[in-house]
Amino acid sequence: MTDTAHAGHLETATGLDNRKLAIWTFIGSECLFFASLISNYLVHKETWLTGPGPFPHEAWTSPAGKVFEPIIEIPLVTLGTALLLFSSLFVVLALANAQRGNRKGLLLWLGLTLLCGVFFVGMQVYEFTHFVHKGLTLKTNLFGGSFFVLTGFHGTHVTIGVIWLFTLWIEAFRGKIPPAKSLNLEIAALYWHFVDVVWVVIFPVVYLIK
């Protein structure tokens, strides 16, 4: 997985591995991506003119008298959030085991990380389906559009992270992540932490603040 023209003398001018610096750079860039999406959500969550009001958080009665019950499920999403946060810890433990050359520990903690990630994505799939059944789609109102686009792109990032970590889990299973190659996992872990941190912002902004 290395890709460097520096073979032969691996030291870099900053002392930081190329790939590590690159993933930090990419994460910096991604901050602006999510900042823009979150801004879009904040701008639009209450500016609806068509469709039902912002009923995910509280009940809303249309001028025609139709009542929309609140549909947001804070306990479920809180569980998903907690597991995602724990997965950040698990991936750190996986990395520590990889660096020590403990393959079993690596497989265990990385597997737990993966389970948390898969649960989170599953939770989001359930939530999206549930919302659509209750009548909140992309088209319903501006809340729907900005909610699905924001959480959907975050979910896509989680999914990419799951695929990435799963690939590494297979590699670890085949014994191809010795301590010398633990950087491969460290880079994926940095991405995973970032995706978690973004959710730490999205969760209160979308679910807790009315």
Binding site: H6, H9, A22, T25, S29, S36, N40, H44, T50, N141
Partner: protein, 612 residues
């Protein structure tokens, strides 16, 4: 078959020979070749954008002209702007980033050679995608800024906007991948002793450009995603009747768009800051001030976007802030201009073609910069908005600035890139035709604009006093085009000649001139150790005169990255995904899924391929 060819090529490279043939270009990961690919592709797009401009000028040459229909006119001005910004100036700068940065910092390649190839292929495919719209009779027609809600499904039902939005999204991926790569390259791949404050100024300005790319492109990515959801999936982000806000587009677009204009100009600043010292035979005046003014310009770039939006009526507080912040940019820019003058002042000036272009750059950029400060004042801006005065302003910075700077770079580095000197007499003919043609084309636009001629309108009636200047502009535009014909002739003529350029034809100061022209695949047989800002000048001073011509050496024992076609496969997957999105109402999700599968296939093979 493909694999066999690749194996042969690897064996070839191991034996120390330059690989040749089409396949070697398709699989190349050599930053110099990728630079040449960027340059050739971008120059082709530049000529296309130029032809579009000429068609526009023919239409505007006489009043009430019917040469172009209003619809075609809209398509041409949109594609002219989009092409020149995203397919010409940015990738022409990228050509120099690719070819020059690793040489200037004493590296053998960029940090991620295959990612670099990927950037190029995505750029090429994005450019082709955008221009394929012509074949479908559906070229983008809503301006390069694509203001909402003109771009909504309601007002633009055809494929025009779809081509534009997905094309730009593709090009954004190329820019971001390249920015991550060059940011890492500059920080990590510097030769021993090449401290940050010893880096050549072109590398510095390019580095700042990468930061701008990294922070500005995600914002337009989101703006385009929202537009895509509005158009394809029925959201209402930019639809005012549903509570959406078309101004949101303008904000997001210009938060990207203003840094973008510095993305277009900073590389030219860097090139000119290399050329002026070499041909004035003096070190750059105020190196540190040049670096920090560049950083300051980039910082301010993110705080001035709404000066593009004074006409939307943001209110006095926002207007005042954005006006003051905008005028603040004149300070670091002024620092740069005085430093360029200070560099030339008292120098022993060598009147070579690159110097001509660099000096003209300073003069032309001052004109464009001054009219920019004029727009910075909201009362003046309200008079100038949507008139030809604005067109005059941004052509003075984009053409008078960026293109003059890039031309200086082309003449300056041509011998290094191709081992051939361009003809000086033809170069100067190119220069004079370009300088005169440029000023006669664009200066009158100031006057027309102040007299009220609106931009983006396909014709004008007789008797408003617009006729003479418009005719002059049209004739001059052909003069400008002729200057590039001279450039092309110069390339063809000298291409037939021998590869006779010495390693250091200009008596220059930086590392790229210490190695043979053109450089060998591995650039530096030995990684240099740097002791100062102008390493080659210092070496020549110590040596007491010109250095002997560096010998071509065998590359045996120098480990270079293997060629790879996976970047191309991955880029094709990405383009297929974009095409699938475009056809979502015909193919359902299957086009996207197929493209995604190719993308994933490419990524995995890339990741597990031995990179060498």
């Amino acid at each position: 078959m493909a694999t066999t060819a690749l194996d042969q090529q690897r064996a070839h490279a191991a034996a120390g020979h330059e690989p040749t043939g089409l396949w070697s270009w398709i699989t190349t990961v050599d930053h110099k070749r990728i630079g040449i690919l960027y340059g050739a592709t971008a120059f082709t797009f530049f000529l296309m954008g130029g032809i579009e401009a000429l068609l526009l000028r023919i239409q505007l040459g006489t009043p009430n002209n019917t040469f172009l229909s209003p619809e075609t006119y809209n398509e041409l001005f949109t594609m002219h702007g989009t092409t020149m910004i995203f397919l010409a100036i940015m990738p022409l700068s990228a050509a120099f980033f690719n070819f020059i940065i690793p040489l200037q910092i004493g590296a053998r390649d960029v940090a991620f050679p295959r990612l670099n190839a990927f950037s190029y292929w995505v750029f090429l495919l994005g450019g082709l995608f955008l221009n394929a719209s012509w074949l479908f009779g559906a070229a983008p027609d809503t301006g390069w800024f694509g203001y909402a809600n003109l771009t909504s499904k309601q007002y633009s039902p055809g494929l025009h906007v779809d081509f534009w939005m997905l094309g730009l999204q593709t090009l954004g991926v190329a820019s971001l991948a390249a920015a991550v790569n060059f940011f890492t390259t500059v920080l990590n791949m510097r030769a021993p002793g090449m401290k940050l404050m010893r880096m050549p100024i072109f590398t510095w300005m390019s580095f700042i450009t990468q930061v701008l790319l990294l922070l500005a492109f995600p914002v337009i990515t989101v703006a385009l995603i929202l537009l895509m959801f509005d158009r394809f999936f029925g959201t209402n982000f930019y639809v005012p009747t549903a509570g959406g806000d078309p101004l949101l587009w303008q904000h997001l677009f210009w938060i990207f768009g203003h840094p973008e204009v510095y993305i277009l100009i900073l590389p030219a600043f860097g090139i000119v800051s290399e050329v002026l010292p070499v041909f004035a035979r003096k070190p750059l005046f105020g190196y540190a001030a040049m670096v920090f003014s560049g950083i300051f310009i980039a910082f301010l770039a993110f705080g001035v976007w709404a000066h593009h939006m004074f006409a939307t009526g943001m209110g006095p507080i926002a207007d005042t802030y954005f006006s003051l912040a905008t005028m603040l940019i004149a300070i670091p820019t002024g620092v740069k201009i005085f430093n360029w003058l200070g560099t030339v002042w008292g120098g022993s000036i060598q009147y070579k073609t690159p110097m001509y272009f660099a000096l003209a750059f300073v003069a032309m950029f001052i004109i464009g910069g001054l009219s920019g400060v004029m727009h910075g004042s909201p009362p003046a801006d309200l008079q100038q908005t949507d008139t030809y005065f604005v067109v005059a302003h941004f052509h003075y910075v984009m053409f008078g600035g960026s293109i003059f700077g890039l031309a200086a770079g082309a003449y300056y580095w041509w011998p290094k890139m191709f081992g051939r000197m361009l003809d000086e007499r033809l170069g100067k003919l190119h220069f004079w035709l370009m300088l005169i043609g440029f000023n006669l084309t664009f200066f009158p636009m100031h006057i027309l604009g102040l007299n009220g001629m609106p931009r983006r309108v396909y014709t004008y009636p007789e008797g408003l006093g617009f006729e003479e200047l418009n005719l002059l502009e049209t004739i001059s535009a052909f003069l400008l085009a002729a200057s590039f014909a001279v450039f092309l002739y110069n390339i063809i003529k000298t291409w037939r000649g021998p590869r006779n350029a010495p390693a250091d034809p200009w008596n220059a100061a930086t590392l790229e001139w210490t190695i043979p022209s053109p450089p060998q695949e591995w650039n530096f047989a030995e990684i240099p150790v740097v002791h100062g800002r102008d390493p080659l000048w210092e070496a020549k001073r110590e040596h007491g005169g010109p250095l002997p011509e560096p010998p071509k050496v065998s590359g045996a024992g120098i480990h270079m990255p293997n060629p790879s076609y996976w970047p191309l496969v991955t880029a094709l997957g990405l383009s297929a995904m974009m095409s699938g999105l475009m056809l979502i109402h015909h193919l359902g999700p299957w086009g996207i899924i197929a493209g995604g599968a190719i993308l994933l296939f490419g990524v995995f093979n890339w990741a597990f391929e031995p990179a060498g």
